[in-house]
Symmetry: C2
Subunit: 356 residues, 2 copies
């Protein structure tokens, strides 16, 4: 994997070093209005390279990660006079790194880009591993490219400005990585008191580094998701269904929350089908119930949820629902087909565990 | 290079064999209205796989190779229930293989596709080598991907329906490949009487195979156009400028014609700067003048033409105009910077050679 992962709280200096090394013909920043206001002024003051960069501002929010916004970015890249030898710097959350990455990957059939994630979720997930794209016709990440950034500059300094909800949303992906790694990794995250710790501190940077390295190792073996990378879908088959269903009910939930809840359901399925240990399931479910609350469903919601799961992009054949499941922490089984009855049984147990 | 090149006049059977081997979860055809009317009925009658395929019909013409049409193709792919394991069959000219290839490359971050070129130009150029894309904001192929088809099924049977202009347009790219290869390859194309031969015959299939293999060898060494692949730009820096300028004058010219004329200018530059042999230049210019006529320009047009050349996608720095030039047939020099004065001198000589 060519992508360089840099963990530092000295972003501006790192940007200048990288730009010096990559020697682009010009530099273009893609960001959103919030980051432009909260983060960019200081970065531009500290970084020589950034001071002269053309800045493309997008409207924030996943609902703006669409074809219209992408088309605007391409037009702005032309206005900036960007060539194949220019460099894009995506500074923002997952919406910016996803859309900006795809914009760069397709502009003139591909220019280089660097990700500077400003949220925990983007740092631990979206900015690493080469998945870029936009939502289309209401489907998440329906159109995009596998395209690796030259580098991801990962820092915790921006987490000071994050809400508790945004922090927890990112932490869910860290919990997922830990579950895929080992009991030890999992235990150390359950021990870390995300509610009362300094998210911008050194301990967090160290945990984040461990977490991102787990993802990197998995992605390295399988960039295009033909096999092992599907391990990273743990929690996401059910999580995406919860997320879409919440959207449909017009009370959207953060992505990471949906994944946290989705993992409860998928660990229950893992327990039912592969004997995933009861005590691990319970400690995870307790952690989630305490911190994230519960996603409220009744058995009347099951048919719609199953229909949404069947539409998941990872399903290679429609109507067969594939899961990534665990025998234990660090022992993953990809491409598990699960019957509708087992899914419904797991949703019942999820409701019990969540106390709803 | 994973792309398989199959030269056959038995397309339907080949499609069935390939589909059998690739075992897609479903098959989707992307084509245009003309091909749908002229070519598809017979293919569907002869091919089992095609009989059950979902067909997406686009409006023909390069002016419809745009973001709106692409968006429609993605929506239709969703309607067809296409998954990552489905297979797209692009049946048509370069507009279809370019746009259909990009549609497939980006849909769900990438599904497989096969090209079935129905024009000489698409057979010799667009369907091979992994360049896909659409026009955007008036710039040709401004947005796209490097994505290789699983296979290109190349046949001359469809050339029966081509106009003389379409044949000559494709033949210009064959002349380019021959110039990049050797004096022998070049001579054998000048000997072939494209005006009075059967374009759908065996001799043509053999010449076509030789020509496509030349392109394949060049592309193999450099898929992403960091170096040697730029050899294939011979004639295109000036050719694209002619093409855009003709569009601006509201009397568009076929792509291959623009390339044929562009190569005259670039061989003149090659002669001026690298001593490309006079006799080869003259025999090429004669061939072009006799068959293609001339692109009519005066010195008043030079400033606009130079501005268009400076905007070419291959220029890594704006305002420096890069050419691929020849010392001799088969002896290419990429990334040659040419001064405005030399370009103007070459345009003068081009007008002399063309008798305008």
């Amino acid at each position: 994997m060519k992508q360089q992962l840099i963990f530092t709280n000295n972003t501006a200096e790192t940007i200048d070093t990288l730009v010096g090394r990559l020697a682009p013909s010009s530099l273009v920043v893609i960001t959103d209005d919030n980051v432009d206001r909260l983060v960019l002024p200081q970065l531009q003051a500290d970084s020589k390279a950034l001071a002269g960069a053309y800045v493309i501002k997008c409207r924030p929010g996943d609902e703006n990660k669409n074809l219209d916004a992408l088309s605007t970015v391409w037009t702005e890249l032309e206005r900036a006079g960007a060539t194949r030898s220019s460099l894009v710097l995506n500074i923002g959350g997952g919406m910016i790194t996803d859309m900006g990455g795809f914009a760069a990957a397709a502009y003139k059939r591909g220019m280089r880009f660097i990700n500077v994630p400003t949220t925990l979720l983007a740092a631990v997930d979206a900015s690493v591993g080469g998945k870029t794209g936009i939502n289309f016709n209401g489907y998440k990440n329906e159109v995009g490219a596998f395209a690796e950034s030259e580098a991801a500059i990962i820092s915790t300094v921006y987490f000071k400005t994050l809400s508790h909800t945004e922090l927890l949303s990112g932490y869910a992906e860290m919990l997922k990585h830990a579950l895929l790694q080992s009991r030890e990794a999992f235990a150390s995250l359950l021990d870390f008191d995300i509610d009362n710790s300094t998210a911008s501190g050194e301990r967090m940077l160290a945990l984040l580094q461990t977490s991102v390295e787990i993802k990197r190792r998995i992605v390295e073996t399988d960039l295009h998701e033909h096999g092992l990378r599907r391990a990273l879908n743990l929690g996401h088959t059910v999580g995406h269904a919860f997320e879409s269903y919440a959207m449909r009910r017009e009370s959207p939930v953060p992505h990471g929350y949906a994944v946290a809840w989705g993992m409860v359901v998928e660990l229950v399925i893992s327990h039912l089908m592969l004997d995933f240990p009861t005590e691990l399931l319970h400690s995870y479910a307790d952690y989630v119930r305490t911190r994230y609350g519960a996603f409220d469903i009744t058995c009347d919601d099951y048919p719609a949820l199953l229909e949404l799961m069947a539409h998941d992009k990872k399903n290679r054949t429609p109507d067969i629902i594939n899961f990534s499941l665990l025998r234990d922490c660090g022992d993953v089984v990809i491409d598990s087909t699960v019957s509708a009855d087992n899914i419904k049984a797991a949703l019942d147990i999820y409701r019990d565990l969540m106390g709803i």
